[in-house]
Symmetry: C2
Subunit: 188 residues, 2 copies
C-alpha cells in the first residue's frame, strides 16, 4: 500500500502512528477490469482509496449507460452520497481497468469519526476532495462546451484517458461517440 | 443566534462548551435584499451559517445571469471551492431576500481545524452537507426534466420558492421564464 501511505503521510500530513491506526481499518481488494463495484439500488458500504486503476460512475441505461464521472488513482472512490446517508445508491460504480483499492467499512468509518480526531480530519479531507470534483464538474457543465470539456479531461489525464473507451468519454462530455470522434480528429 | 445554536446542538450534537468556543469565532452580519455577498474573481474569505433568508449562486452574464444554486436558511453558505483552495471564485453570491448570517474567517477556520477535534467535525459536516447538495443537483440535472426539477424544488421549499423571482428559478432549472410560466400554469 505504498501509494496510500504516500498520500496520507505526504498530502494529508498523517503521522506514522495515525497512519498505522487508519491502515488497520483498511482492507485491500482487487477488481479485474469491467467489474461491478457498487450496484445501483444498493447501499454503499465502503469509502475506498483507489491505489491503481480507473473507475467510472454511471446510471445504467438500456441503450447506453450514462457515465457521469471517472475516478483515477490516488483518490477516494465511493458512491459517497449513498454512503453518507446509508440510503440506496442512485448510480453504479464499475472498474474500467484492473483496480486495486483499500477500503473502509461504514461502521469502521463511523467509529473512526466518533472516537478520534484524525477520523474527522480524514473525513473532512475526503469529503473536500469529492466536493471539489463535483463543484468543478458543475461549473464545467455550465460554462464549457463539449470540446472544452474534452480538452479539460485530456489535459488533466493525458495518459489515462487512453484507457477509457470512447463511448464512456462521449457520455461524460454529453455528446455522441460520433461527435467526439470529430472533435478528436480536429484536435490531432 | 437561536437557529445557529439549535442547529449545532440539535443536528450536529455539539456540547455547550464546544458551541461556545465555535460561537466566539462567528460574527453576525446582515445583508439587505439583492446585496452582493461574494464577487466572482475574488477569493472567498468566509464559511457562513445562514440563519435567515435566501441566497443565490450565479455566474454573471450580460443578458441573464446563470443562477445555478439557492441556499435556504439553516444551511452553510460559501463559495466553498474558492474558500477551500483560496483561489478566485468562478461565481458570485448575492442575497435574494434580507439575510442574517454568522460567518467565520478563513484563518479562524484553519485554526479551528488544526487545533481542535470539533473543528474537523464541523468541517466534515459542513462539507458533507455541501457535497450532498451538489450530488443531488448533479443527479437532478442528469436524470430529471425541467418540470420534474421544478417540482422537486417546489416540494422541498413550498413557502420559500415564492420569494424567488421567476427568472432565477427558470435559470436554475435550465429553461426560459416563458417555459417556466407554462409549467406553473399546467401544475396549478
Amino acid at each position: 500500500m505504498q501509494n496510500v501511505e504516500e498520500y496520507f503521510k505526504g498530502v494529508l500530513n498523517f503521522s506514522d502512528e495515525d497512519f498505522k491506526f487508519l491502515a488497520s481499518k483498511m482492507k485491500r481488494v482487487e477488481f479485474s477490469k469491467k467489474s461491478e463495484i457498487t450496484k445501483i439500488g444498493r447501499v454503499e458500504r465502503y469509502l475506498s482509496f483507489l491505489e491503481e486503476g480507473v473507475v467510472r460512475l454511471y446510471i445504467p441505461k438500456e441503450e447506453n449507460d450514462l457515465t457521469f464521472a471517472f475516478v483515477f488513482k490516488n483518490s477516494f472512490v465511493s458512491a459517497y452520497d449513498s454512503f453518507l446517508k446509508q440510503s440506496p445508491s442512485e448510480y453504479s460504480l464499475a472498474s474500467i481497468t484492473k483496480c486495486v483499492m483499500y477500503r473502509m467499512e461504514y461502521d469502521d468509518v463511523q467509529e473512526i469519526f466518533n472516537s478520534t480526531s484524525i477520523g474527522n480530519r480524514i473525513g473532512r479531507l475526503a469529503t473536500e476532495e469529492l466536493f471539489l470534483k463535483k463543484a468543478k464538474r458543475e461549473l464545467d457543465l455550465l460554462n464549457k462546451n463539449a470540446e472544452e470539456r474534452y480538452l479539460s479531461l485530456f489535459t488533466e489525464r493525458p495518459e489515462l484517458i487512453k484507457e477509457i473507451p470512447l463511448k464512456f468519454i462521449a457520455s461524460y462530455i454529453g455528446i455522441t461517440p460520433q461527435a467526439l470522434s470529430r472533435i478528436r480528429k480536429r484536435i490531432i
